[in-house]
Amino acid sequence: MTRHYSALSVIKEGLNGQKGWAPAWRSPKPAKQYDVVIIGGGGQGLATAYYLAKTHGVKRVAVIERGWLGGGNTGRNTTAIRSNYYYPESTALYDLSLRLYETLGRELNYNIMLSQRGMMQIVSSPGEMEMAARQVNAMQINGVEARLMDRSEVQRRVPIFNFAPDARYPVYGAIYQERAGVARHDAVAWGYARAADALGVDILQQCEVQEFLTEGGRCVGVATSKGEIRAERVGMAVAGSSGVLAAKAGFRLPITSYTLQACVSEPVKPIFDTVLVSPMTGTYVSQSDKGEMVIGGGLDRVPSYGQRGNLPQLETVLSGLLEMFPVFRQLRLLRQWGGTVDVTPDSSPIFGESPLPGLYLNGGWGTGGFKAIPAGGTVFAHILATGGHHEISRPFDLNRFRTGHLLDEAAGAGIAH
């Protein structure tokens, strides 16, 4: 059976009628007991399992997933990867993620199609330009490469943008992060799943958590649709479903679930070679390798678990797109969808032990979990292996809501996350 992916194995299996490929991962029966059980088979959960096995040598690890791998927000986001944050604590987390992404394809032997095409945040007024300079300075002080672009450079790079004299949001310049880009979202989930499986991790799909098993006030496992599974430590990385599992475990979280929607156009020839966001219109866009324009924006303002977007927000996003790119008026939309994102009051994630001892949290990513998958997995694996915080995850503990040490990135970096 062919397990390693390479040009040579593609040729070999091509000659062999594609009959020799090994399945990317097994579908094992659940064991009764694991060292660590992770709830949630999205990017965060699968990456956590991989680093638990790889970095920490934890032998018995299971990932349990109610639906299918990467079927939640990992498969529903617009695939942007960036680390243009304001606070040092956020930069430590998100830039670690970007650095890990840069070598991830090779590490996992899985093509995640990382394309570091840069990301541009459009600036539309002189006052905003001063805030942009502050943002760039903050990023540089935190060790992340970033620079200001002036109007003429933006015009050279994105000639199809609306530079008309009567544009509603004139271009004064942009914040540019060269190392930012996009990656194939499904491939990130599948790559981690395949690599984790090869290290002995059991991936259990169509396995839903019904309740938490507790003994002496401590979480000792989960009751699932496939029977009871016990574990020394249980982690949850379930994004929009965090509130549902928290209720089962008997606590509340500072999280509200909202719909974030996105859409893609019909495919067109290459016309746009970066990732662009405008805080004024709230719309962001990139072009996929297939040629589709991938379009996203802000949250629907109605808390929801519906996994489908509402019309007013779609209209806002698309009006913003057409204001920025009048040429896209001719485009037709191909697909539109929604995911349920877990939004915290300070737009920063939550890591650490939950109010139920033995149960650990990785959540509150809001609209920005995909870019953070490698770093989220790295620090959550550390937490689940040791029971204590990673240096990077400590500021993101749940206790920040009691101590008041919030990391308000919506205010700091000036864009929604």
């Binding site: 479903s241 509130g243 509340r252 979280l253 679930s257 303002r301 929801s304 509402n310 007013p312 809501f401």
Partner: protein
């Protein structure tokens, strides 16, 4: 576009409304513990399915209670608060 029934103005577009949090989340005394304040300020029920929430109709500025389903988006009832928050 979904219509939400304002108890004062009748059915209005969803964009006229602002979400205000869980119903029954009452403000603690000034002398309450940090934990009580934390719970009041930040921690949510975030229920999947039927839930009761406080909303504001931005155009008439009235705050009211809405019972709705967070999966189907169906609104089962809205009522004025009648003096109690």
């Amino acid at each position: 576009m979904q219509l939400f029934p304002c108890p004062f103005c009748g059915p209005r577009p969803e964009t006229e409304f602002h979400f205000g949090g869980d119903a029954g989340n009452t403000r603690p005394d000034a002398a309450a513990s940090d934990s009580d304040w934390t719970n009041y300020l930040f921690f949510k029920h975030n229920r999947k399915g039927p839930t009761r929430e406080i909303w504001m109709h931005l155009t008439c500025r009235e705050v009211f209670l809405m019972a709705r389903d967070t999966v189907s988006h169906e609104v089962s009832a809205t009522e004025a608060l009648g003096g109690e928050a």
